[in-house]
Symmetry: C2
Subunit: 227 residues, 2 copies
């Protein structure tokens, strides 16, 4: 039987690296897709290439889309500062409709490579309050996807797999370590420097550090010296 | 009362020009958005700018996304010929997940400008067999959109308006003419030349010409001389 084919959204961060390892362990042939959306933390894209290669993706593509042209987020707008402490509600690092755009691009790629699934690292537990990381959003996208494409309407349905959506960060890193993921090659920080060294203070750094601590695993993150 | 705000997807073609005129006639303040997705017919983007200005959009933005990198369509892949006669089923001019990507980008822009609606020229009648032009697709996207964004989950729902989805091409051009749309500035042809002159033979040309004929209206389309 031919190997099942999937598009896996790989950001270069900890979550999506774990998802790629889970997909590979499940026997999927994985087409890794990263999105260059004008993010500040471009070292993530270099990390994504390393992750895709190390975890055995059959290819790694980078799709460019200029969400930065719309503005509205600390992750794409240099005029908005990255918060260095926890905030209430949906934070300024929220990028408008980001996961909708990412999944739409993944769907386009999935149709071209004839994939039966899209894997996303969406996570609703330790998440930063982003609405497009919730299970009901994923389910709504799956429903949309099966109405949207020639391949689906011609009888080849697609599923949206979010294998870590209900996991805590500690569960994610534990699962990834079991599968041999080297988290030293991933970058989660919203404000990493050009060498990919983490700030240690933003939401992403705090969730990540707390994850390794709660999992009782060594934290391989490279932090930059305090200024 | 403040004027209602909408993002209107404007391609430069006949359908979306009509939709912009309908939105304006409905009292909406319109943010026109075009997508540069690596299409062959780039004269469409110039037409979109003309249409947005002529019909009173408050702004016109072009979002770039490289769907051409994925391939798979005659509209983005120079290696696939544009058919010059009618074809059965979903044609090779279908661009994988195009309307999903376009609506996702419109949703991102809608959130930034605080729009309450997105207008699309999707049409399921004289359509070329594209699955993502059907009313059930539009309804599924609206449902998704209301789960996807910070603005929606914080209490400002968004609607996806597809005012011409059930109209024939003849009804569309009749409505547009009533609203004063000058169709000479629009380009529908899949294979227009650099001056925006139409081939007269592709699906888009045939539907358009037939629309003017059935509406008993003069066809202002500029056709290029036969080779």
């Amino acid at each position: 039987m031919a190997q099942k084919r999937a598009v896996v959204l790989v950001s270069g961060g900890l979550d999506s690296a774990t998802v790629l390892a889970i997909a590979r362990a499940g026997g999927w042939s994985c087409h890794a897709l990263s999105v260059d959306y004008g993010q500040r933390h471009r070292v993530e894209l270099e990390a994504a290439a390393r992750v895709a290669k190390a975890l055995g993706a059959v290819e790694h593509r980078v799709a460019r889309v200029d969400l930065a042209a719309f503005g509205g987020s600390a992750l794409t707008d240099p005029g908005i500062a990255i918060p260095r402490e926890a905030s209430a509600g949906i934070p300024v690092t929220y990028v408008p409709a980001r996961n909708t755009v990412f999944l739409a691009l993944a769907l386009a790629h999935a149709e071209v490579v004839a994939a039966d699934a899209i894997f996303t690292g969406a996570n609703a537990v330790d998440y930063s309050g982003y609405p497009d990381c919730r299970p009901e959003f994923i389910a709504a996208f799956e429903r949309l996807a099966n109405l949207a494409t020639k391949r689906a309407v011609e009888g080849a349905p697609i599923t949206i797999e979010a294998p870590i959506v209900h996991m805590t960060k500690a569960q994610i890193v534990r699962r990834g370590r079991e599968l041999g993921v080297d988290y030293a090659m991933t970058v989660s920080c919203y404000d990493a420097d050009r060498e990919g060294r983490a700030c240690g203070a933003c939401d992403a750094c705090r969730f990540r550090r707390e994850g390794f601590r709660a999992a009782a695993l060594p934290d391989p993150t490279r932090y930059r010296p305090a200024p």
